[in-house]
């Protein structure tokens, strides 16, 4: 039995760039279960927080404490970027890439790639170049590429920004299935409807600090702070 890499604790985390504080100080625990939505207006620090949790952003102060060693942590989490990075390869090779990196045999990796392509309706596009896909297809491919190694923890940075309703629905459906299968998901969004549909708990950020955090239902029913209330109403905060 392999132990969990969660919970992840961010303690007194601060990120500064060129003297400007982008995040923190922040204390946050990502438990073993749930679908956390990180919300907040543009520039509130959502991406910096997500990157700090994932380990892409070095903390200026504070620490990120995991329940397992860093080798396991690096292997068992994945990140989907707001602008999906399409490798200059076919859809098939994009999907197989993470598996091949970690020693999966070529035939098995190709088979897994085909299975995932079927799940995201890209079977017809398997041999097309990934850079030729539409925005929605690219984001689905990026999500499938992140999920193909069955990560325990998945970060998504506004995966549905700039996507139409149909593509958003497809991605949300995939995320719900993965969440039900036990994948821990942390996702940044400023789409209120999406947050209501998916979240089990909320982290509300404002000016680089966590303004409010807790279960999603009470947050949406009656936020504790006037700023969160204004944000939910769609006011400029």
């Amino acid at each position: 039995m392999v132990g969990s890499i969660l919970p992840l604790e961010l303690r007194e985390a601060v990120v500064r760039r060129r003297g400007k504080r982008l995040l923190g100080p922040v204390d946050l625990t990502v438990g073993a279960k749930g679908f956390t939505i990180v919300m907040g207006p543009n520039g509130s620090g959502k991406t910096t927080l997500m990157r700090s949790l994932h380990g892409l952003q070095r903390l200026t102060e504070g620490e990120a404490v995991w329940a397992a060693g860093m080798e396991a942590v690096r292997k068992r989490q994945a990140y989907v970027f707001q602008q999906p990075v399409m490798m200059r390869r076919s859809v098939r090779d994009n999907l197989a890439y993470p598996l091949l990196l970690h020693g999966t045999k070529k035939a098995a990796a190709r088979m897994a790639a085909e299975e995932w392509a079927a799940r995201i309706d890209l079977t017809e596009a398997l041999d097309r170049r990934a850079t030729q896909l539409s925005g929605g297809e690219r984001q689905k491919l990026a999500l499938a590429r992140a999920l193909i190694r069955e990560p325990e923890l998945l970060f998504l940075d506004e995966p549905c920004a700039n996507l139409d309703g149909r593509a958003t629905r497809d991605i949300e459906a995939l995320l719900k299935v993965e969440h039900e299968r036990g994948t821990r998901i942390v996702m940044a969004t400023h789409d209120m409807g999406q947050a209501r549909r998916l979240a089990t708990d909320i982290v509300f950020l404002l000016n680089g600090k966590i303004h409010e955090t807790g279960p999603a239902e009470p947050f949406f029913a009656g936020p504790a702070t006037p700023e969160a209330g204004a944000f939910l109403k769609g006011d400029i905060v």
């Binding site: 994932h54 292997k75 990075v85």
Partner: protein
């Protein structure tokens, strides 16, 4: 004008009659240049990729030196290689002077910085695109270099072709280290220099046209094989 006309006639005649000397010289040119390009690419492409992804103290200075070495004077390279390979030189014991191997060594020294520098620029742009993804996927340095070299292969082909272009037309260094010996180290460029010196402009021009045709043929073949431009931009 008549000399150019004579040259063209000589070129056509040499090709049509399958002139054995011309084919010998052309094959040797190709052998020396292609070997040099393969070796220089094997060194220069990973070096360019490494410089794109690796941060170290004197990185900028190293890149500046590499760029400066693109303009390395072939005659000086030829002279240094000559001194190294001559009997009294440190590698004289191998007896490589005035052999195709010496010519390959000189060409590798001349074109490796060119290939590495162009590769570095191409890989640097790709690395900017892939950086977060590669870090996020917990890739090793070796995996990053291999991925960048593979995914950037079309741009890197241009780097190798630039090396080929420089090497096939090079004369100064290979004249010094090869000696332009008939049936041994004579290649198209050194043969052109020799025929010009003898005043046989017709043959010199004929060889020149063959050289240009060869360079164009190799470039077109590689573009065709690599399907560059036929599938749009990646």
């Amino acid at each position: 004008m008549s000399e150019i006309w004579e040259g063209m006639k000589a070129a056509v005649w040499l090709i049509v009659t399958l002139d054995p000397e011309l084919f010998d010289i052309t094959l040797r040119s190709l052998q020396v240049t292609v070997t040099a390009v393969v070796i220089a690419s094997a060194i220069g492409l990973p070096l360019g990729a490494l410089l794109a992804i690796q941060r170290f103290r004197y990185r900028r200075a190293t890149i500046a030196v590499l760029n400066a070495l693109m303009g390395l004077p072939p005659v000086v390279v030829g002279l240094i290689v000559y001194l190294m390979l001559s009997r009294s030189g440190p590698f004289g014991v191998f007896g490589l002077l005035f052999t195709p191997t010496a010519m390959i060594i000189a060409q590798v020294i001349i074109i490796t910085p060119l290939i590495a520098s162009i590769a570095h620029q191409a890989i640097r742009d790709l690395w900017a695109e892939y950086h977060d993804l590669m870090i996020s996927m917990n890739t090793t340095k070796g995996q990053r270099i291999r991925t960048l070299l593979w995914d950037g292969r079309r741009a890197l082909m241009t780097a190798s072709l630039a090396g080929f272009g420089r090497a096939i037309g090079e004369v100064g260094a290979i004249m010094i280290v090869g000696g332009n010996i008939d049936n041994a180290t004579r290649v198209l460029t050194t043969a052109i220099a020799l025929e010009t010196g003898k005043g046989d402009f017709g043959l010199a021009l004929g060889l020149g046209f063959v050289l240009i045709g060869l360079a164009i043929f190799v470039n077109l073949t590689i573009h065709w094989v690599g399907r560059t431009e036929s599938e749009g931009r990646w």
